[in-house]
Amino acid sequence: MMLRLMLIAAALPLAASAQLQLFLFDGTAEKAVSTVVDYGNVAIGDSSELRFRARNNTNASIALQTVSLGGQGFSISSAPTLPYIVAPSNYAEVRVRFSATMVATYSATLAVNEAQTLLRATAIAAAAISTPAAGVLTAGGTVDFGRVLSGQSASQTLTLSNPSTASPITIQSCSISGSAFTAQGLQCPMNIAAGASARVTVTFNPTAAGVLGGTIAFDSRTFLLSGVAYDPPLPKPAVKFSAPLTSGTQQKLVISLETVSQTSGAGTVTMTFQPASSNMTDDPAIQFVKTGSRRLSFTVKNGDSSATFPAGVDTTFQTGTTAGTITFEVVLGSADLKFDFPIAGAAIAVDSATAVRRTGALDVSITGFDNTGTAGRFSFTFYDSTGATVQPGAISADWTTVFTSYFKQSKSGGSFTMRASFPVSGDASTITAVDIQMSNSTGPTQVSRLSF
């Protein structure tokens, strides 16, 4: 692709005697160079680079044939491969760096085709600035504080060494910027005797998460300060209950934290339910009472050892009336944890039971729940006023099919109201009570004797 572009450029007519014009580019704007370009004072050990642009302000392409630099201390750090065709209104960039090891004034001539300019720089003695982590820094270098918890701090010591064995160094001015950075020992003018050193301790003390920057300057030499602040992670959550989970109960849920939280945050807890039996459907009674749903938000504050729900440190939920597994998924910070809690099958639980005598019939009603979905076998024993069993004695019934059908389409989990009617021929008033036994896969349940 590059070759193709160059061929196209070469095909354009070249200006016979046109000149490229030299400009200095500071990263933002171009400025025409004068006969002398001064790099100013550059500390020994540092370097200073300027960007020159050879701009073609004609209507024809110009071939850049030569880029030369004569003189000590200066070097070309970047230039296009020659010959280079500069299209109309385009430019070629040449970067020239100055760096010296001896205190002196330096000069060199930069020639770009016919355009020339004199480069000048003064190398001055300066303190060598170093950190234990980065070693000696050059101006513009970065002191990196790495990642620091917001609210905590990290420090780095800058050592300012005078490499001269004969002359002291005086730093006339110094400053630090950046709200997250402070310095100790930064007082100017700062005199550093020959062969001696001074120390400045810079502390990064962020109060909020983010990428934070600053500068520290010694005379004309500026160094960057950089650090990343992050909030402490939210602690790992766990769930606790007021009692072991069984069906038909309202329980209190507490979300405890593995450690005391050092930050604030918000999370959610979501319940899901998997019935133990394929004969049972999902159970809508399994829910948080606060929302009538299976999802609830909570918050964690700095210093908390447990989460806070809208009503306090705990929240009430219902376990429903179906055996299975309730899963609590707790999302807090980067943690997304699931906690499974099985609810075992249990004998049929009776919430209420009534026995009513009608003319010619005895009605029995039972409200309760069977969390296994296997109810169906019943036994009724009727008694007369003397307490004697009414013949034919215990009457057994197997309504398993009816119950199974009900549970398969239930929108109330394992809860049910069952009504049974027993036609009576004769004087029904002589029957005064009934015992009821019912069973599911886990065993029988005896209903306390009901009176008519």
Binding site: V289, G292, T316, T321, S352, S410, G413, F416, V424, S425
Partner: protein, 264 residues
């Protein structure tokens, strides 16, 4: 005569069979009416679509709902049986032991009305300077009214002429009072909720402080609302239990039906 029990396994289905348990209805803080189903500790509350209700009571057979300007009667399925104009503001409701006859007391006008066999009829009653805190029906001829003057009193009145037949002093009390159709009362004394049965035997209910409203939900269930916004379900009986009533589930499966024109 010899008693014979005839029995077939089809009886459970023929007699209505198996259903999801229904507890009754509750009035939410926003004035909507919720159907409450399930069993103790495993409730499901579902919006009925009935709204703007300022007072409500449910016997299990009937529901009496007061909007600002009307009184509605609903059956156990939520269908509206009757809707009449009524004095503005709240009302107090009660039922007879069958749950099929209802009473309404309108504080704004001091009027007592009885709902029986699909019709409302006025009943004479003048509480004098006392405030009416609760009302229920003892039977078809008599009502039990809880009055508040310096202290609470339970007054039995004759519906035909409003005559006071009996007065029982109940002592000092604060907060709401509920008179139940079996003759028992729930009231507050010294910050505790007291259940007093018809024989006068009292037991303390495990209700939090700050109960501001007591409403029969149907059957043995009473709704209690606290000043903190909590809605509780109290299961009465020999061992009363208190549960938290869940917020309504997002999906409604009960629709009001049988709405009638308001009678004036």
């Amino acid at each position: 005569m010899r008693t014979l029990l005839l029995f077939t396994t089809a009886l459970v289905a023929a007699a209505g069979g198996i259903d999801a348990p229904r507890i009754g209805y509750a009035r939410a803080a926003d004035g909507s009416v919720l159907q409450v189903s399930g069993v103790s500790g495993a409730f499901i509350t579902t919006p009925t679509g009935l709204t703007d209700v300022v007072a409500a009571a449910f016997s299990g057979s009937l529901g009496l709902l007061k909007t600002n300007e009307t009184t509605r009667v609903i059956d156990r399925t939520g269908a509206i049986l009757s809707e009449i104009e009524a004095p503005s503001g709240p009302a107090m409701f009660g039922f007879d032991p069958t749950g099929r006859v209802g009473a309404a007391w309108y504080p704004s006008t001091g009027a007592l009305a009885i709902y029986r066999d699909g019709e409302w009829s006025p009943a004479p009653f003048d509480p004098g300077a006392s405030g009416v805190l609760a009302i229920t029906l003892k039977d078809k001829d008599r009502a039990m009214v809880v009055l508040q003057s310096d202290s609470l009193s339970l007054v039995r009145i004759r519906l035909s002429d409003g005559a006071v037949e009996d007065v029982t002093a109940l002592g000092a009390s604060t907060g709401p009072v509920l008179a139940l159709s079996d003759g028992s009362l729930i009231f507050q004394r010294d910050g505790a909720a007291i259940l007093r049965d018809v024989q006068g035997v009292e037991q303390t209910l495990d209700l939090p402080a700050g109960v501001v409203e007591l409403t029969p939900m149907g059957g043995a269930w009473v709704q209690a609302r606290t000043d903190s916004g909590a809605t509780l379900a109290v299961r009465l009986g020999s061992q009363p239990r208190v549960y938290i009533l869940p917020a309504p589930s997002p999906v409604a499966d009960v629709e009001p039906s049988g709405a009638r024109e308001v009678r004036r």
